[in-house]
Symmetry: C2
Subunit: 206 residues, 2 copies
Amino acid sequence: MGTERLSMPIGEAMFTQRAIRRFTSQPLATADIETILEAASKAPNGGNSQIARFLVVRDAERIRAFGALYRRAWWAKRKDDEGWAGPEDVPPDNTRHLAAMRLADEMGSVPCVIFALSVPPSYPESVFPAAQNLMLAARALGIGSVPTRLHPSVFAEFRALFDIPPEIGIHFAIPLGYPRGHFGPTRRRPIAETTFWESWGRLGPR
Amino acid sequence: MGTERLSMPIGEAMFTQRAIRRFTSQPLATADIETILEAASKAPNGGNSQIARFLVVRDAERIRAFGALYRRAWWAKRKDDEGWAGPEDVPPDNTRHLAAMRLADEMGSVPCVIFALSVPPSYPESVFPAAQNLMLAARALGIGSVPTRLHPSVFAEFRALFDIPPEIGIHFAIPLGYPRGHFGPTRRRPIAETTFWESWGRLGPR
């Protein structure tokens, strides 16, 4: 079923997969979520052990509770990285974190969050490609997303909130919804700046 | 340019991205490699810091040298995991590793290898989604691949072989080529077995 519904050319999906951090309130259909989970399941993974697990949350009450936790986790990370405790500590000329800071405020009201989790041995190389399939498939259905990570200081509370056992690995929290704003081209460095050929430091054939 | 060339429906690419471990000797065109590197560059990454780096190797001599190293790395991993030192230690009824063992023998003669590397802080969540874009784009062009990892015991030798500085992170070695054999559906568990809804342990709406 997934194959027919995911008809967008792969180049279009990849080249317009901009991080979407603001969403309309429109709910996501179960069939769409199932399609993107199916796409996730097809990603390469070590020894086909299929250790990736997903937790889909649409219940507004649960998302509100998660939003409060996510906001604290986001600021805990800023404290670690920049020494900021809250918005009052952000230098006025610092715009780099604005969009993510706004998401930290709005996470509690997104229409859907999917958590990318795993059973042991929880190798990230067997989970992240599935998460990327999930987000690309969402894009192909017109659904925006952005991968976020939780600060370890909230892991225990996060597990308690969703009854997640201690042995389950925690990878991404992915809010999903229809975008306020637009998909669109991403800004990326040209591949000549990020790729070498034959040996480190050697430029490509043209 | 990448958008036009990557016209395969995304569902078709994802649902037929089987691990390809045997390749014809047909070389890969530079334009195709550039297209899949462009697709890789578009993947989500933390703070758009774009830490992923790629090293493309097509030179037969270098690939032969890498193949010898890869074979040792592969067996070092088997020694760690199963206690096997070589083919003579594999129980006759164990077929699980056959395809990967054959790749370890044949890596030295694949037409192309792309190494997924990174500059610090080398977060894997900023590299693996790019690698998945790369392999999906390759699939869309009819080019097969499989993500492999190197055993740390060969890292120093690997760096020496390709002049890779010590601060550069090593993630995947991805052989690429036109498949001997076929792309095709992957075998995966149904999403009902890998997904919970609203809370861990709770099944979906249908």
